[in-house]
Amino acid sequence: MVDELLFFMEVLVGGLLAGTMYSLVALGFVLIFKASATFNFSQGAMVFFSVLAFCGFMQDFNIPFVLAFILAALLMVVVGLCTERLVLRPLMNASEDTVLMATIGLGYVLEGLAQAAWGVEVRRLDLGIGDFPVPWIADNLKLFISALDITAGLVAAIMIIGLFLLFKYTKIGLGLRAVADDAGAASSIGIPLKHIMLLVWSAAGVVALVAGMMWGARAGVQFALVDLALKALPVLIIGGFSSIPGAIVGGLIIGATEKILEVYIGPFFGGAIEGWAPYVLAIFFLLYRPEGLFGEKIIRRV
């Protein structure tokens, strides 16, 4: 009995921590959605692009870790700048579906550029944190929990707190919220719209880089990261598109449910149900609470 409970705990904690990895990707979506009501479908591609750039700097040019990180972050700022200038500004008055399509196109561009510049083969990324159980926890609590999972959890927590403080207590955050509420009104009282957009896209780029580093350390830096990032979509639906805590809670729910279902129900169906289970879970959420757990209620005006 105790063993079973321990096993369940292990699955649960592993799932929750793996869920924070989804949260990290979802965070980038939320940032952009919050500030511009734009759904950025290219967030997954940004994860892939940024971490591949980071790996490229580090492995091809032998640039040290910190410098490579800064360079990759700067590159993401440039990407944000170009996106704001070349994609978002011309589409200022377009419908949200049109902007969504354009971000799908942007995703294709980023994926293609990344592969053209740094090749298609899978790269190993060693952050110096092993993806194996921490001995101390294994000895004392008899739970096998990967060090990488714990790091991802910590990093996610730090980023959430930072972003939360930014949105809540700084003048920039106030501007961000104003722009999200009504871009026209915000710009008419003198909030510089393009600076805000640039800032948000750069922040989303850096978040993507961090998320990519975590995923890359686990699964290798490869094209499959883009598909993994798609799983951030059910996370967002569960948590709500405009809520930072929602991204976290959604990630935790998806991570935990997916692992528990996989371990306890998966064997009856031949396994690998984690490929679709999050999406089906998201459908059920959509039927009962379309705005997500923390999202603002969707009101459509006629």
């Binding site: 377009a94 999406y279 039927l287």
Partner: protein, 356 residues
């Protein structure tokens, strides 16, 4: 639902005749190389058919769906099992039934569209994509317990006659695509299509006019999935000649989405234009890479460039012409058409004669 065959104008009939002569007489007499049939014309027809399916749900009904490849897989594997287990149905019968099976999936996964729209619906339809592929992959029955993972498709036999040469397969695809395209055009022009468009343009207004949202949306999803299912079956049996779930992954769904959007949302001819472009552009790029640069550029670089160009085109079209290539074509026709009408020429002549 009233049949609308009568409302064809003279122009439509001329277009139809030109397309038929071109595809039935001219192409088979002038194109003799197998490569053209097996690698370009057959996949073009199949993918155009799937894109029409995507058009119905996205271009006409305005529902953002991203799971065309899932329904194609459902159709393809339904076809395989029907031919294997119910041989009495024959090829055409099996094709129709596999379309219906795909339509059943379409109804099931289209139901969330009653509640949500936009990106939310997109996520819900992604569930169908992943679920259908997983189901086929995990339950051996669908693959007739074949362990190799790739099953060879059965030969196409219609009324006792084998259709195995590329040309014969081309005709099979052509016939099916032609019939379904005409049907789609009819639906789009008739009351069905008007309901779809009413829901697309403003669902609340449509509902208050008495258009049932439930019926219209579910119908659109069902018909869309039917088209995708039939296209998937043709794609597997005429083009791939094998069945494997991996061939119908999310990448194919994105490809069909691109064909639909770049071709032109809400147009049937846009489906053909878009499919042709997405299919031919990589071929062109590869031949440029091989002939101009003599293989100096790596194949992976070429495919990356292709991806970048597709993405850029998507952005450019969204900014400058959200209605896609079909609208560009329309604009071109208008520009040159208005210059060349007979009255214009007469005016031109008279003004010229006055001058000189």
């Amino acid at each position: 639902m009233k049949p609308v065959f009568m409302t064809y104008t003279k122009k439509d009939l001329i277009n139809l005749a030109v397309c038929m002569v071109l595809s039935v007489l001219i192409i088979p007499t002038f194109i003799k190389t197998e490569y053209w049939y097996t690698s370009i014309l057959i996949p073009w027809l199949c993918l155009a058919l799937a894109t029409i399916g995507q058009q119905i749900v996205m271009g006409y009904t305005g529902q953002l769906a991203l799971g065309a490849a899932g329904f194609m897989a459902a159709g393809a594997f339904a076809m395989f099992n029907l031919i294997l287990r119910v041989p009495e149905l024959g090829f055409i019968g099996s094709l129709a039934v596999s379309g219906l099976i795909a339509a059943a999936f379409g109804i099931l996964f289209g139901l969330p569209s009653l509640k949500v729209r936009g990106i939310y619906l997109m996520v819900a339809t992604l569930a169908s994509q992943f679920f259908i592929i997983w189901m086929i992959d995990k339950f051996g029955w669908f693959k007739n317990y074949d362990s190799s993972g790739i099953i060879t498709a059965q030969d196409i036999v219609i009324l006792g006659k084998p259709f195995t040469t590329p040309l014969a397969m081309y005709f099979v695809c052509l016939a099916v695509t032609a019939v379904l395209t005409l049907l789609a055009m009819n639906m789009a022009r008739g009351s069905t299509g008007r309901n779809w468009m009413a829901v697309r343009d403003m669902d609340i207004a449509a509902e208050s006019m008495g258009v049932s949202l439930l019926k219209t949306k579910v119908q659109a999803f069902a018909i869309s999935a039917f088209y995708c299912g039939v296209a998937g079956a043709l794609f597997a049996f005429c083009y791939l000649k094998s069945l494997e779930p991996v061939a119908f992954d999310i990448k194919l769904s994105f490809k069909i989405l691109f064909m639909c959007i770049l071709g032109g949302l809400g147009t049937i001819n846009g489906a053909f234009i878009g499919a042709a472009f997405i299919l031919l552009f990589p071929v062109l790029l590869n031949s440029v890479g091989n002939n101009v640069f003599h293989g100096a550029i790596d194949a992976t670089i070429i495919s990356s460039i292709e991806q970048v160009i597709f993405g850029l085109l998507m952005i450019i079209f969204m900014i400058y012409e959200p209605l896609g290539m079909a609208k560009l074509w329309e604009n071109l026709k208008q520009k040159f058409g208005s210059k060349l009408t007979s009255s214009n020429i007469k005016n031109l002549k008279s003004s010229l004669s006055k001058k000189f």
